[in-house]
């Protein structure tokens, strides 16, 4: 038996590994799409496109400013952003506490529709202009309308195939992340750092809004009111117990009107303020969308205790869409410099995610998914940009390898 069975690998570490793979694939897909978008739409060089939004309300960066000016301005911007996000998240917690479920749900539906329709439409227009796609206005608007409506249905209804649901969640992440990469450079980096600090505080501190949200959701045994990506197994021939649990979770989801995406309802505005409206929406989207990383619900397990941690078929790891977005923003920003930084940051983020998942298995409570990955990502970006690249280019252009 010792040598005969080639598949004698232990189960616990491996079941965790399988869950990691199921989360890694969509995160990687999201990052890849953002990198593709960034590289194809910024082919003419990084021109500091002026996108006015809440994130640049305090200071809009010029390329000619001095180092300290830029740093100060970026910090100010990110501070304003984090304050806005905090206020909105507290508002969300309040609404959740007073059980204004219908309001929350319809708000989320409206905001998802706007993200898919307006942000998505704008990006599709960029793509059409870039690639000279021959399409007319009527067809385009019809397709866009269908795309948005199906997207909203896929995310909020329960009878939709899981792949479509996951695909649309990834699409929403890609669209919002691409908009964030349009911000000026220093502001983006400062924003990433600020958001990971905010995430850390909001999830771990006793008064943090996200922690309150998670505790409320668990105490009422309801789904979290946020856009959350759930890495459920996609296979069809699951054992009966697993399928029962999956359907059960879906039913509670529809009952408790989950999947909230708190947005600021802006009035439809003329073109000059459209950027403002659109980016304001995604700013507010981030507030509720930055849900913490959740372990599988402990009370849902039944006889699956024999499987060890039980991550196999009973629960599933949930990753908030905000995490998708900020990982992709980091990688998108790295793509604006060079591909080497993209690879380095991708590896760093994946390592951070794996560490976070391991910590999740150890602590078994909601954990912030941003800090470790973003910290590693920024560290590797700086190291690669200022140290590794010179070394590599020196070696490769002389055709030296080791």
């Amino acid at each position: 038996m010792a040598d005969g069975n080639p598949n004698s690998n232990p189960g616990v570490l491996e079941s965790l590994g399988e869950e990691i793979v199921r989360i890694v694939a969509p995160v990687s897909a999201c990052m890849l799409l953002v990198v593709l978008l960034v590289t194809s739409l910024h082919a003419g060089g990084d021109g500091g496109s002026a996108v006015t939004s809440i994130a640049t309300i305090a200071y809009s960066e010029e390329a000619s400013d001095s180092f300290w000016d830029k740093l100060e301005g970026a910090l100010l911007n990110s501070l304003v952003f984090v304050v806005v996000i905090t206020v909105l998240t507290f508002l969300l917690v309040l609404l959740f506490y007073f059980r204004c479920m219908r309001f929350l749900k319809s708000y989320m539906v409206f905001s998802s529709f706007v993200v898919l329709g307006l942000l998505g439409g704008q990006i599709f227009l960029f793509l059409i202009a870039r690639f000279y796609v021959p399409i007319d206005v009527v067809t385009f608007s019809l397709l866009l309308l269908n795309f948005s409506v199906v997207g909203v249905m896929a995310v909020f209804l329960s009878k939709v195939p899981i792949l479509v649901n996951q695909g649309y969640l990834v699409t929403i992440g890609v669209l919002v992340a691409y908009w964030f990469t349009l911000l000026p450079e220093w502001t983006t980096w400062a924003l990433l750092v600020a958001m990971s600090l905010y995430d850390l505080a909001a999830v771990l501190l006793p008064g943090g809004p996200l922690r309150l949200l998670v505790e409320l959701a668990i105490s009422r045994d309801e789904e979290l009111p946020a856009l959350v990506y759930e890495a459920r197994p996609v296979e069809q021939n699951q054992p009966g117990a697993g399928r029962r649990l999956w359907r059960e979770r879906r039913d509670t989801a529809t009952n408790s009107s989950s999947n909230l995406n708190g947005l600021e309802a802006g009035n439809p505005n003329p073109q000059s303020q459209e950027a403002n409206l659109v980016v304001a929406e995604e700013d507010a989207a981030v507030s509720a969308v930055t849900a913490p990383l959740l372990p599988p619900q402990l009370e849902r397990r039944r006889e699956e205790d024999a499987e060890g941690i039980g991550l196999g078929s009973s629960g599933a790891i949930k990753l908030g869409l905000g995490d998708f977005i900020f990982y992709s923003v980091l990688v998108g920003r790295a793509a604006l410099y060079d591909f080497m930084t993209v690879y380095a940051c991708y590896l760093a983020i994946m390592a951070g995610l794996a560490i976070t998942l391991l910590l999740l298995a150890v602590y078994r409570k909601a954990l912030p998914a941003l800090p470790v990955s973003i910290a590693l990502g920024i560290l590797f970006y700086l190291l690669t940009r200022y140290s590794l690249e010179v070394f590599m280019v020196q070696c490769s252009t002389n055709l030296l390898m080791f």
């Binding site: 040598d3 004698s8 690879y343 190291l383 200022y386 590794l388 010179v390 070394f391 002389n398």
Partner: protein
């Protein structure tokens, strides 16, 4: 219908109670999941391997940063560069092996607990393969793939010293050979460390240095037309050596198992 099944089983097999049948069902599900789990573990090994080698490359570049960029006229700084880099990488490989040994202890403990068997030698080979692949892919990505951006336009680039083939093609061929060398060296190295064979342990750094020194030939004008084919030969030799080693292990284990079963029968 489930009860009918149980009764059929109850009549023809010895089943103490329904609970043990549930356990068997769970066990069956486990082993079915194992086929997905084994490649996952390899993938994890590969990805962690990628990060590990990236970190080693970054440390190397950090150490050399002060001296770079070098002027391209003299060739001896490159020699020092190559030797220090290869030396550092081999030291890193040793560290990787020590890390893996510790991980293996944990994995073996879990395997004992759950399946009452340890990691088989094929599993260890597969983990070594994944590690080696991670090493090779990390080098290939950072030396070759990340510099491919200029190739997307209509024209191509040539290097002065190797003006017959486009730069990207030469770089790709060299990277391919190095992927092969790194992958199979890791398998040879892990087996050498595990079995304590000095020959295997020494062969790996020697091959690495040999291959790196051959790329030094590319510094001479026109040198790549000698260097690159020789490099391919080194890659082929590494592959052959690894094949010989694996074949030897296979026959050894096959013979051992046959002896063990013969003892059982007789």
């Amino acid at each position: 219908m489930g009860d009918a099944v149980f009764s059929v089983f109850g009549s023809s097999h010895v089943l103490p109670n329904k609970k043990s049948l549930c356990n068997t069902v769970l066990w069956g599900r486990f082993t079915r999941q194992l086929n997905k789990i084994v490649p996952t573990h390899r993938m994890e090994g590969r990805r962690d391997g990628l990060l590990f080698w990236l970190i080693s490359l970054i440390v190397l570049s950090g150490a050399w940063r002060v001296v770079l960029p070098l002027n391209s006229a003299a060739w001896w700084p490159y020699v020092i560069l190559i030797f220090t880099s290869v030396g550092f990488q081999e030291a890193t490989r040793l560290m990787f092996w020590k890390l893996y040994k510790r991980l293996e202890v944990i994995l073996d403990a879990f395997a004992e607990e759950k399946f009452r068997s340890r990691l088989s030698w094929t599993d260890k080979m597969q983990i070594a393969l994944a590690g080696g692949l991670g090493h090779g892919v990390a080098h290939a990505v950072f030396f070759c793939v990340s510099l491919l951006t200029p190739s997307f336009g209509p024209a191509t680039y040539f290097v002065d010293r190797c003006s017959r083939i486009p730069f990207f093609l030469v770089s790709a061929i060299i990277s391919l050979v190095f992927v092969i060398i790194h992958t199979f060296s890791m398998i040879i190295a892990f087996n050498g460390y595990a079995d304590g064979r000095k020959v295997d342990q020494v062969v790996v750094p020697v091959v690495h240095i040999l291959a790196a020194v051959m790329t030094l030939m590319n510094l001479a004008p026109g040198g790549c037309s000698i260097g690159v084919p020789l490099l391919c030969c080194v890659g082929a030799i590494t592959m052959y050596y690894c094949w010989q080693m694996v074949w030897r292990k296979l026959t050894e284990h096959g013979r051992r198992q046959r002896n063990a079963s013969e003892i059982h029968i007789s």
